[in-house]
């Protein structure tokens, strides 16, 4: 079997170019999906029978919480690939994830607080789901802080990769916290094995938001990855060509 395609796939100039081609597609599709989802979520979807119009916070809370957790999964997987197979691109991807992940963890916490106040009567409780999400934020910040503490890039890559992989244990804790413990947080309405417990006109905007946010992240990740590749490939001659 010919493995040339595989090596080309992992080569920095190839990834740099592919990332540049894909970014606008992801970005425009994300923008379109999010705009349609905004209109259908805020205007077309009916109010909830218990939460009234307050439930519409769901349309920004769930996608940002999804991003926070999904980005961590991407980061830990990429870090593991970098650590185990010594593929530098893995470390570059992981390093590109952390900042974005931290931002959306904050957003999920803030939007959750703004939803919790009218529905639970409080901005914050030390509930398993909420606490695990706060730990996720500390993992992201720890990852970024650890990287910043090294002058040597390859040492920063390896140390932060170990942290990212060990911290992955928190992901199933977040996912199953509402089932394992008696959580105040509501159980999943969509991301579960059974049918979603929502009518289609409430569900459709949420699914569009989830897809839109995912594509948005893909676009942001690719731009950050290009920056990361340029920084790492200091002396490569191909950089001369792409910058001309």
């Amino acid at each position: 079997m010919n493995w040339a395609w595989f090596h080309r796939l992992g080569s920095p100039p190839h990834i740099y170019r592919i990332a540049g081609t894909l970014t606008p597609w992801f970005a425009w599709l994300a923008g379109l999906l999010i705009i349609v989802a905004l209109y259908s979520g805020l205007v077309l979807a009916p109010p909830d029978y218990q939460q009234g119009d307050g439930f519409r916070i769901l349309y920004v809370h769930a996608p940002s919480a999804w991003l926070a957790v999904m980005i961590y999964g991407v980061m830990a997987s990429a870090a593991a690939i970098g650590l185990i197979w010594r593929m530098k691109i893995g470390h570059a991807v992981a390093a590109s994830c952390a900042g974005v992940g931290a931002w959306f963890t904050v957003v999920s916490l803030v939007t959750g607080m703004l939803w919790g106040k009218p529905m639970w009567g409080t901005y914050w409780v030390w509930d398993p789901r909420l606490t695990a999400q706060l730990i996720l934020l500390f993992l992201y910040l720890g990852y970024l802080g650890l990287r910043a503490g090294f002058d040597d890039l390859s040492r920063a890559d390896r140390a932060s990769a170990v942290l990212a992989i060990v911290g992955f244990i928190n992901i199933p804790v977040i996912r199953y916290s509402v089932e394992w413990w008696n959580s105040i947080h509501q159980a999943p309405s969509v991301m579960k094995m059974a049918r979603p417990s929502m009518p289609i006109d409430m569900l459709a905007p949420l699914l569009m938001m989830l897809l839109g946010f995912t594509l948005y992240f893909a676009a942001v990740l690719l731009v950050r990855l290009r920056a990361e590749i340029l920084r790492r490939e200091r002396t490569a001659s191909w950089i001369r060509e792409v910058l001309r």
């Binding site: 805020l42 205007v43 109010p47 009234g52 119009d53 307050g54 519409r56 916070i57 920004v60 809370h61 940002s64 900042g99 974005v100 931002w103 959306f104 904050v106 957003v107 803030v110 939007t111 703004l114 939803w115 106040k117 009218p118 948005y216 942001v220 731009v223 950050r224 290009r226 920056a227 990361e228 340029l230 920084r231 200091r234 950089i239 001369r240 910058l243």
Partner: protein, 55 residues
């Protein structure tokens, strides 16, 4: 229209939540682009120094 913005009395919670989310979306676009521009500038500077050769 004002009924829409009132959001059934949840306006003071709902709009800040949307604002925070789209603020983060905007900030991350700016940060990613800036990181890429900075990396390109840095690479161009390095290439210019290399081309000048040893002084």
């Amino acid at each position: 229209m004002s009924e829409f913005f009132a959001m059934g009395g949840y306006a003071i919670f709902l709009w800040p939540a949307y604002l925070a989310t789209f603020l983060a979306i905007g900030v991350n676009i700016v940060l990613a682009r800036r990181a890429h521009e900075d990396a390109k500038q840095e690479a161009r500077r390095r290439i210019a120094i290399e081309d000048e050769g040893p002084l």
